[in-house]
C-alpha cells in the first residue's frame, strides 16, 4: 500500500514539474545559436558559405584578395589567406582558424575610420538600446533621449535578428575568441543571441550575422560599460512570417507568443515587453481582453482571441 502511495506521489511530482512554467522555460532549449563558426581551408569539394563571403570581403578590403565575392573557398581565396598570413607573421597555412580571424580583425580595425568611441561621454540616465535593422544602426537612449548612435551589422536574410523587446541577461568582458570583443546576451527564448564585437569589421553596416548584433570592437567596449544586466534592447527590422498553430497559455515562450503580444499591443492592450514570454504582463492583458469582449474568463489565447486580434 505504502509503495503505491510513494509511486503515486512521484508521478504527481513529475507531472507538476513537467507542466510548471519554470520547467518548461528551462527545457525549451534554444533552437538557434548565432555564434556558430568553423575552420576554413581549401579542400574538395570546396567549402561554401556566408563565413567565406565575409572572409573574402575582409581580405578584399585589405588588398589581399582580388577575386569575386563568391562565398567559395577556392584557390584564389586560399592564396589570399596565405598572403595575409605571410604579411602578418603567421604560419602561411592557408587555413583560417581563430588566430587568423583575430589578426584580420586587428588589421581591418586599424584600416577603418571608426568613431573615437572611447572618448564618448557616459550616459547619465537610464540606458536603453534600439537596434534598427533597416538602418543597421544602434541608438543608445539615456532616459528616453538619444545619447549616441553606433553602426552595427544585423542578421542576414536567412538568419534574421530577433525582432522584439529584449533585455540583456549576461555580460562577458573576456569573451573575445575569434568573434570579437565583449558579449552581452539577450533573453531571446528561442536561441542564443546577443551583442558582440566582430573580427569582420567590414560587415558592419550590412545584414551579415547569424542573428547577433555585431559592432566594431572599439564601440562594443564602450557600450559594454554603459549597459547593465537588465538593460532593455529593442530590435526592429524585417522578420519571417510567424504562424500561430495552437492555443497559447501562461508560461509558454516562442515566436508565436511574441506575435500575440504585438497584436495585443496593436489593439490597445498592454502585454508589457514583447519578449516572446507569456508572463505576468501578457496575462494581465489577456485578462482585460477577455473581460471587455465578454469571452470566457480564463487566460488562454484561443481562436476567439486570434480572430479578434486579426491573427486568423
Amino acid at each position: 500500500m505504502s509503495k503505491k502511495i510513494i509511486f503515486l506521489a512521484i508521478i504527481i511530482m513529475f507531472m507538476l514539474m513537467t507542466t510548471s512554467p519554470i520547467y518548461l522555460e528551462a527545457t525549451v532549449g534554444p533552437d538557434y545559436n548565432c555564434l556558430g563558426t568553423r575552420q576554413l581551408w581549401l579542400r574538395e569539394p570546396k567549402m561554401e558559405g556566408y563565413d567565406i563571403l565575409e572572409l573574402q570581403r575582409e581580405l578584399k578590403a585589405l588588398g589581399f584578395y582580388e577575386g569575386e565575392l563568391s562565398s567559395i573557398y577556392d584557390q584564389t581565396t586560399h592564396q589570399a589567406v596565405r598572403r595575409f598570413q605571410l604579411a602578418n607573421g603567421l604560419p602561411a597555412t592557408g587555413m583560417v582558424k581563430d588566430q587568423t580571424w583575430a589578426q584580420i580583425t586587428q588589421v581591418a580595425s586599424q584600416s577603418l575610420l571608426q568613431t573615437t568611441a572611447q572618448h564618448l561621454k557616459e550616459p547619465e540616465g537610464e540606458v536603453s538600446l534600439l537596434i534598427d535593422g533597416y538602418r543597421k544602426e544602434m541608438i543608445v537612449y539615456s532616459d528616453g533621449k538619444i545619447h549616441h548612435k553606433f553602426p552595427v551589422a544585423v542578421g542576414k536574410s536567412s538568419t534574421k535578428s530577433p525582432i522584439g523587446e529584449w533585455a540583456i541577461i549576461t555580460k562577458d568582458a573576456d569573451w573575445g575568441g575569434g568573434f570579437g570583443d565583449r558579449w552581452m546576451r539577450l533573453n531571446v527564448p528561442w536561441g542564443i543571441y546577443g551583442i558582440h564585437g566582430t573580427n569582420k569589421p567590414h560587415s558592419i553596416g550590412t545584414a551579415a550575422s547569424h542573428g547577433c548584433i555585431r559592432m566594431f570592437n572599439r564601440d562594443v567596449k564602450v557600450l559594454y560599460n554603459w549597459v547593465e544586466v537588465g538593460t532593455r534592447v529593442k530590435i526592429i527590422g524585417n522578420r519571417d512570417p510567424i504562424e500561430i498553430t495552437h492555443n497559447l497559455r501562461p508560461g509558454q515562450t516562442g515566436r508565436d507568443v511574441l506575435l500575440f503580444q504585438e497584436k495585443l499591443r496593436e489593439h490597445g492592450f498592454d502585454p508589457g515587453y514583447t519578449d516572446g514570454r507569456f508572463g505576468e504582463g501578457t496575462q494581465e492583458a489577456i485578462k482585460d481582453f477577455k473581460y471587455i469582449y465578454g469571452l470566457e474568463d480564463n487566460l488562454i489565447a484561443d481562436d476567439n482571441t486570434f480572430y479578434i486580434l486579426g491573427i486568423k
Partner: protein, 470 residues
C-alpha cells in the same frame, strides 16, 4: 423664594436636571446631523469662483482599443479644449484596467480617495449610496426661457438612471442588445428577416429556425460563460424588474423555468455544436467560417470587432433582436445605458466643486460625444447629436437602420433605490451560477431553479434583517 428653592434642591434633582440637559442636547445634535445628511442638496445655480482653481479627477477606460486612434490623445485634447472655456478647472484623468476598474473604484470610494467623475461603461449605475451624487439638480435647472437640460437627453437613457426622484448619472450612449446573425445562412431557413428586424420574433420561431439549421448542418452558438443572454431572455419575457418597490420578489420559479426550458429545447433539437460545453471556443471561428448562423450574446465591443472584420471576411452580418416568449406585436428590445457618474468626497468640497465636475461631464457628453459615439458605433444620449450621428456614423446602411429601429423599440428599467439595486446585483450572481449549472452541471432545470429561488429568498431575508437591525 430663591432662598427656599436653593434650600430644597437635592443632589438627586441636580443630577436629574443634568441628565435631562445631556439627553436634550444629544437629541438636538443627532437631529441636526440627521437633517443635514438626509437633506443633502446641491444648489445648481451656484457660480464658479473665477479666481479659484478647481481640481477634479476623472476615471475612464482606454476606449479606443482595436481602433486606430489613441484614446489618451483624445482625452488630453478634450481636456485642453475644455480648459479654453474653463481655465480654472484642472482635470486629472486616469485610465483604468477593464477587468479591475470597477473593483478599484469601489475600493477607492471606500477609502475616500475616489474620483469626482467616473465613466460607467459597464452600466453599474449605482455604486455608492454615501458618495454618489445625483445630476438631476443640474438637469432640472430651468434657463431664462424656462427650458431644462433634462429635455436634451434621450428619455430612455434618463429612465435607466432614475431612482427615487433623482437621476444618478449623465447618460452618454444607448446600446441596443442584439444577437448577430449570418444573413446568408439565415436566408436558407426561410426566416422572414425583415419581419424579425421590424417586429421581433418568438422563442418558438427561433426553435423552428434552429431545426432548419440542423438540417443544413449549421449551428447556433450561445456563449455559456456569459449570462447576459439569460438576462436578455428575462427582459424580453417582461421580467426585467426582479423586485417590486416594496422589496417583493417579482421573479418567479415559472419565469426562470420557462427561460431554461427554451434553452433546453434548443439543446434538444441539436441547435448547438456537438461539443456544447466548449461551444464558446467556436464562437468566432464558426461564425466567420459560415458554420454558425447566430451567435450571442455579443456586447458592444465584440460587435465593433465584427463590423470591422465583416469588410474582409465576406460574411454578411445582420443584427437580430433577442426573441420573446410569444410575439404579441412589435416587441421591445433591451437597451443598455452608459453614463458618467459623479462622486463627492466624505468631506464635501462644496456645490461649486460639484458644479465644476458637472461642467466637465456636460462637456464630454455634449461636445465630445459625437466623435466618441461615431467611433464606437453607439447612439449618443444627448438628443441634439442623434440626427448627425445617424447620417455620419460609418456603419453599413442596413445595420444602421436595424440599430435605429431597435432603439425606437428600446426598453430600459428604472433603478429605483440603492438597496434594491444592491439586491439585484446579488440576484445576478445567483442567476450567473444557475446559468453555469445549466450548461455545465447536467442538472435538472427544476433543481437549478429551486436552488436559485431559495438563494433569492435568502438574500431578501438577509437584507430585511440588516434593515431591521439598523
Amino acid at each position: 423664594m430663591w432662598e427656599k428653592l436653593k434650600f430644597n434642591l437635592s443632589w438627586a434633582v441636580i443630577i436629574a436636571i443634568m441628565l435631562l440637559i445631556t439627553v436634550i442636547s444629544g437629541t438636538v445634535t443627532l437631529f441636526v446631523k440627521f437633517r443635514t445628511e438626509s437633506e443633502f442638496s446641491i444648489d445648481p445655480t451656484i457660480e464658479l469662483a473665477p479666481n479659484q482653481v478647481y481640481q477634479i479627477t476623472y476615471w475612464d477606460y482606454p476606449l479606443f482599443f482595436g481602433l486606430e486612434d489613441d484614446y489618451q490623445e483624445f482625452l488630453e485634447g478634450a481636456i485642453k479644449e475644455f480648459n479654453k472655456f474653463y481655465p480654472n478647472i484642472e482635470v486629472t484623468y486616469e485610465l483604468l484596467s477593464f477587468s479591475e476598474g470597477e473593483a478599484k473604484l469601489k475600493n477607492a470610494l471606500a477609502e475616500d480617495r475616489g474620483p469626482d467623475l467616473y465613466h460607467d461603461i459597464f452600466g453599474a449605475k449605482l455604486i455608492s449610496q454615501e458618495l454618489q451624487l445625483p445630476v438631476s439638480p443640474f438637469l432640472n435647472l430651468e434657463d431664462e426661457a424656462g427650458a431644462k437640460e433634462l429635455d436634451d437627453y434621450d428619455p430612455l437613457a434618463l429612465q435607466a438612471l432614475s431612482g427615487k426622484e433623482e437621476i444618478w448619472g449623465l447618460p452618454t450612449w444607448l446600446v441596443p442588445q442584439v444577437w448577430v446573425g449570418n444573413k446568408e445562412l439565415l436566408a436558407q431557413t426561410d426566416l422572414e428577416l425583415n419581419k424579425v428586424v421590424g417586429e421581433g420574433w418568438s422563442w418558438q420561431e427561433l426553435i423552428e429556425v434552429s431545426q432548419r439549421l440542423v438540417e443544413e448542418d449549421k449551428d447556433i452558438i450561445f456563449n455559456p460563460h456569459n449570462p447576459e443572454l439569460f438576462y436578455q431572455l428575462l427582459i424580453t419575457a417582461g421580467k426585467g424588474e426582479w423586485l417590486s418597490a416594496e422589496g417583493e420578489l417579482l421573479l418567479t420559479e415559472k419565469d426562470l423555468t420557462k427561460a431554461f426550458q427554451f434553452l433546453e429545447e434548443l439543446r434538444a433539437s441539436d441547435a448547438f455544436p456537438r461539443e456544447e460545453k466548449r461551444m464558446n471556443e467556436k464562437l468566432l471561428p464558426y461564425f466567420w467560417e459560415n458554420q454558425a448562423a447566430i451567435i450571442a450574446p455579443v456586447n458592444l465591443w465584440l460587435l465593433n470587432n465584427l463590423y470591422q472584420r465583416e469588410l474582409k471576411e465576406g460574411v454578411e452580418l445582420t443584427l437580430l433582436p433577442p426573441p420573446s416568449p410569444s410575439k404579441l406585436g412589435k416587441e421591445s428590445v433591451p437597451v443598455e445605458i452608459k453614463s458618467l457618474l459623479l462622486f463627492r468626497q466624505e468631506e464635501y468640497q462644496g456645490d461649486d466643486h460639484t458644479k465644476a465636475v458637472y461642467k466637465f461631464a456636460q462637456f464630454i457628453t455634449q461636445r465630445k460625444n459625437q466623435f466618441l459615439a461615431q467611433k464606437l458605433n453607439v447612439m449618443p444620449a444627448y438628443l441634439p447629436l442623434q440626427e448627425e450621428w445617424s447620417t455620419e456614423v460609418r456603419l453599413k446602411e442596413e445595420l444602421k437602420v436595424q440599430l435605429l429601429d431597435y432603439l425606437q423599440r428600446g426598453t430600459s428599467q428604472e433603478i429605483d433605490s440603492f438597496i434594491k439595486f444592491d439586491l439585484e446585483k446579488g440576484f445576478k450572481e445567483i442567476i450567473e451560477q444557475g446559468y453555469y449549472n445549466f450548461w455545465f452541471e447536467d442538472r435538472a432545470i427544476s433543481e437549478i431553479v429551486t436552488e436559485m429561488m431559495v438563494a433569492f429568498e435568502r438574500i431578501i431575508a438577509e437584507s430585511e434583517q440588516r434593515m431591521s437591525e439598523n
